[in-house]
């Protein structure tokens, strides 16, 4: 009898513990956890001063009132950032002519080495027009840290002078809230978000 009760209790506890650890069997990785957390509770994007590939300064707070798609890169990146570059290019191609400038930001998380010259080279390589799509770096490292923290971007050195990081499309709505994170490849959905034909939250 005791054994049967204990077995039932242990089964229930095991099920509950696993459900709690996976947000109800939905989330097994940190990446999935961050996406779910952002969708449940959109996060205000902290203010930062950004410098673009032409050396122009941009206050992120001044971008409120428009929707943005943001991805994180470093310009020497051989793999996933190229993918992200192609993806943002695909979104840019789908933007209507009257779209806000800027609507797309590629943000470097390696501002020390990514000076405006490297940003400019990256922009040319990927066809960023410098208006609707700009390549920027945060000037202040503590502001960069606050952005990475808010967006949930984890950057680790790969041991060969580069980095590995979780690359994705981050959707920021007109209230300055990070509302969704999409896989690279979801350029249609991101373009619809910018065009305002899809509810943001």
């Amino acid at each position: 009898m005791r054994n049967a009760i204990a077995t039932a209790l242990a089964s229930a506890a095991a099920l509950l513990a696993t459900a709690a650890a996976t947000d109800g069997f939905r989330v097994y990785t940190t990446e999935a956890a961050r996406r779910l957390a952002i969708e449940r509770a959109p996060r205000p994007v902290p203010d930062a001063t950004l410098e673009d590939e032409r050396g122009r300064l941009l206050e992120s707070g001044a971008l409120a009132g428009r929707r943005l798609v943001i991805s994180f890169v470093y310009t020497r990146c051989p793999g996933i950032c190229r993918r992200a570059g192609v993806e943002l290019g695909a979104i840019a191609a789908k933007l209507p002519a009257e779209a806000f400038a800027p609507s797309l930001l590629s943000v470097s998380f390696d501002p020390e080495r990514d000076d405006p010259r490297s940003l400019h080279a990256f922009a040319r390589q990927h066809g960023a027009d410098g208006e609707r799509w700009r390549i920027v770096r945060p000037l202040d490292t503590s502001q960069l840290a606050a952005w990475l923290d808010t967006f949930g971007v984890i950057v680790i050195p790969d041991g060969f002078g580069g980095f590995e990081h979780n690359a994705a499309l981050h959707l920021v709505d007109e209230h300055g809230l990070l509302v969704r994170v999409l896989d690279l490849g979801a350029s249609d959905e991101a373009a619809r978000f910018l065009a305002g034909t899809e509810r943001s939250s």
């Binding site: 005791r2 242990a10 996976t22 990446e31 984890i154």
Partner: protein, 179 residues
């Protein structure tokens, strides 16, 4: 140090902490194992221990133990005490079928995870490199082969008790049929 690479966290640290608890559980006096009837057939302990172990094997939990000191502390205490010890207490009381189930599951889990980690195009842990993940996959496949060989050895190694088919099965499952 063991957490700098996914390989060492998943293939050394987690099994090491669990085995330490398992050994502790096995070396406790035999009369404690049944826990006054609450663990008579060993199933409750097996359920608790394997649930705790599987939670710590989630990529999300492995990441969290790197970024949050409290989670790390929880890992260091619950893996030996809440996974290893219950498993150690329960194993000697588990019946024939339950032991076979554990063997089969351990093998299939190692094989599936190893294959998954080698084949996955993206990283499952945000704090670890893709190359490391692939290496972990190979190590898990290799350990699957080792565990399988140990199982075969225990089943078919020449032992006086293991002449009949039932004897071979008993040896595989660690049951002493000589008595």
């Amino acid at each position: 140090l063991l957490e700098q690479r996914v390989l060492t966290q998943a293939a050394l640290q987690i099994p090491g902490l669990t085995l330490a608890g398992l050994w502790l559980g096995l070396s406790l006096p035999a009369r404690w194992r049944a826990l006054r009837g609450w663990n008579a057939d060993g199933l409750p302990g097996l359920l608790v221990g394997s649930a705790v172990l599987s939670v710590w094997m989630l990529p999300r939990a492995m990441d969290a133990s790197l970024s949050e000191p409290l989670v790390e502390l929880a890992k260091y205490t619950t893996l030996p005490l809440a996974a290893g010890v219950p498993l150690g207490l329960s194993w000697p009381r588990l019946g024939f079928v339950a032991r076979g189930f554990v063997w089969a599951n351990a093998l299939s889990m190692l094989a599936t995870l190893g294959w998954l980690y080698r084949a996955a195009p993206t990283r499952l842990c945000s704090y670890y490199l893709l190359d490391d993940q692939r290496r972990l996959g190979s190590v898990l496949l290799a350990s699957c082969a080792c565990v399988g060989l140990i199982g075969l050895w225990r089943a078919f190694a020449p032992r006086r008790a293991a002449r009949s088919g039932a004897g071979a099965n008993a040896a595989l499952l660690g049951v002493d049929v000589r008595g």
